[in-house]
Symmetry: C2
Subunit: 216 residues, 2 copies
Amino acid sequence: MPRQTSKPRARHQASEARPYHHGDLRRVLIDAALQLAAEGAEVSVREAARRAAVSPGAPFRHFPNRDALMAAVAEEAQRRFRAEIEATLEQACPANPLARFRAFGIAYLRWAMRNPAHFEIISTGRYFAHGSSAELTRDNAELVALTERMLAEAAAQGLLRSTDLKRILIAGRALIYGFARMNLDGHFPRWGVEEREIERMAEEVIDLFIAGIAAR
Amino acid sequence: MPRQTSKPRARHQASEARPYHHGDLRRVLIDAALQLAAEGAEVSVREAARRAAVSPGAPFRHFPNRDALMAAVAEEAQRRFRAEIEATLEQACPANPLARFRAFGIAYLRWAMRNPAHFEIISTGRYFAHGSSAELTRDNAELVALTERMLAEAAAQGLLRSTDLKRILIAGRALIYGFARMNLDGHFPRWGVEEREIERMAEEVIDLFIAGIAAR
DNA sequence: CCGTTATGTAATCATCGATTACATTTCGCG
DNA sequence: CGCGAAATGTAATCGATGATTACATAACGG
């Protein structure tokens, strides 16, 4: 929790000098890094420090190394990601598991497409050792478990053609993750002038998948 | 084509000195970079130069910058990727487009899983500006076109449930690409002790997709 | 009020991509 | 041939970065 700096005394000389101790440098560094990523710039510790108006070595008081900063950044992004998905699911028809699955997929892809850099940090084991953040791993596992539950309910209600839930789960994850990554990795030529256009494609792809696994 | 160095004269002094001019530095640098990537190390121009036993500045005679080297590396990797897929398709039942699609997907995923670093370089716009290599773009487009043709044939033979080929194509690409990236990005916990296990999952996922789009 | 701890600064190092000036080899053209 | 231009590699150097260390200063508690 951010400690409240109680209006620190001014330095010996300047009346408006920045206090020696930053308010909550850790938080500010994470935000700066998130912002850097969102801007498409690559995240460097120094640049984050620069934005926090702090010396290049200061961040290392809060993070042992760059990877640790990135892991913290990923945790924050994942928190936001998960929060938005769960908020969307709050207002999704609770009775129909496949409709919920659909809403989940759409929310997932919407966030991924509107926060590409953050999604990249979350989903790729490139910025820090995969599994180095227990929180990130847990949050992600819970999203997977959420998906699993929806499919299990669908199966219980006889909505699925096959009962091989494991296989359906993996295929569904691959489909959604793949769509997000295709967008991220530039596999959609810039025909899709409208962002809205790609989101419509996302819906169609999800619907195709659901039609494929649904009983009929 | 690699120019043949016709046994260059020895230096003024040593009888076994390395010739001033490298045989085909460009090629050697690309191979060194491919090897570096395959070893999981991150590719640096200097390290490639080191492996080629050449000064750190030498590579820049062949590549204007690091990105250009990476683009050349990607082109080579893509060439191998495409060659293997097409070789596999050579011996796939030519009459059944869905069987060919299945073979395509399996070959795609097999290569991606056995050459993760190379697949990463190919498929991500991270190592160089996306579209900076016309050859890479073309090669990739041809694989997509190949998939498109298989699906069109399947539709022509009445094997598909829907005729929305565009949607099926994107979904299929997303599914296969997503599976490959999930493996790459560490989304498969290390349960799959056996590599063979993951390859079996890949087959199952592809089969599930085909079952989903097939007429019945 | 003092000292222990938390936090930031300054200086330094190795690595990397990149550029420049220079050296040597290769090759084409007369 | 042989000579000069072009190709190719070397050496030295620059700025940025991640990281470490020694030191300075502020914050907190007894």
